[in-house]
C-alpha cells in the first residue's frame, strides 16, 4: 500500500481514486493506514464477500490474493497485477497516465 501512497499524486492527477481492500476490520485497517502513512481509504471486507465475488479468496490463508485492478470510468477492468507482480504498481500508474492522455 505504501507503493500506491508514493504514487498518489500521479494517480490523482490522472483522475484515479485508490482504494485498498482487505479482510481486516475497519479499525485494524485504520491503524494500519496511520502506521504506514496511507491517506486513501483501506476498505474492510469483513467476512470476505467481495473478495470471493472477485474470485480472490485463498482458502489456505483465509485471505485475499494480492491483486491490483485498474477499473476505468466505464466500470470495466483495464489492467490487472497479480500476486508478486502487484507489489510494484508502476504498470498501473503508467496505464492511468496513458488513459488520461487518451481522454
Amino acid at each position: 500500500m505504501k507503493n500506491f501512497q508514493q504514487n498518489l499524486q500521479k494517480l490523482e492527477a490522472a483522475d484515479t481514486q485508490v482504494l485498498g481492500v482487505s479482510m481486516d476490520s475497519p479499525f485494524a485497517n485504520k491503524a494500519f493506514a496511520d502506521q504506514i502513512g496511507v491517506t486513501f481509504p483501506l476498505l474492510s471486507d469483513w467476512g470476505g464477500e467481495v473478495t470471493r465475488q472477485y474470485g480472490l479468496y485463498v482458502d489456505k490463508y483465509k485471505a485475499a490474493r494480492r491483486v491490483n485492478f485498474l477499473i476505468g470510468k466505464d466500470g470495466k477492468i483495464l489492467e490487472e497485477q497479480i500476486d508478486s507482480e502487484a507489489i510494484d504498481p508502476t504498470k498501473i500508474v503508467t496505464a492511468c497516465e496513458r488513459h488520461k492522455l487518451k481522454n
Partner: protein, 84 residues
Amino acid sequence: MRRSVRIQIVTGLLLGGLLPAFVANQASGQSKAPEPLKLRVGDDAPDFTLQYFDGSDRKDVHLSDYRGKKNVVLAFYIFAFTGG
C-alpha cells in the same frame, strides 16, 4: 570414426536441442506466470459496498460512486500490518 560421429551427434543433440530446452525451462520457472483470475481485463468490475473507518465514523464506499467520474485502483492485500 563411426564412434566420433556418434559423439558428434549426441553432442549436437545436447547443445542444439536439450540444452536450450533446459535453459528455457529454467527461465520459465523463474518467471512463472501467476494463476489467472476469474475476472479478466475487459470484464465489468462487480459493484460492492464496503466500509472504512476515517477516525471518527465508518464510511460506506460503493464502486459505482466513481462510475463516469474517476478511474479506480482496487488494491487487494492479504493482511493489515504486512508488506506490499
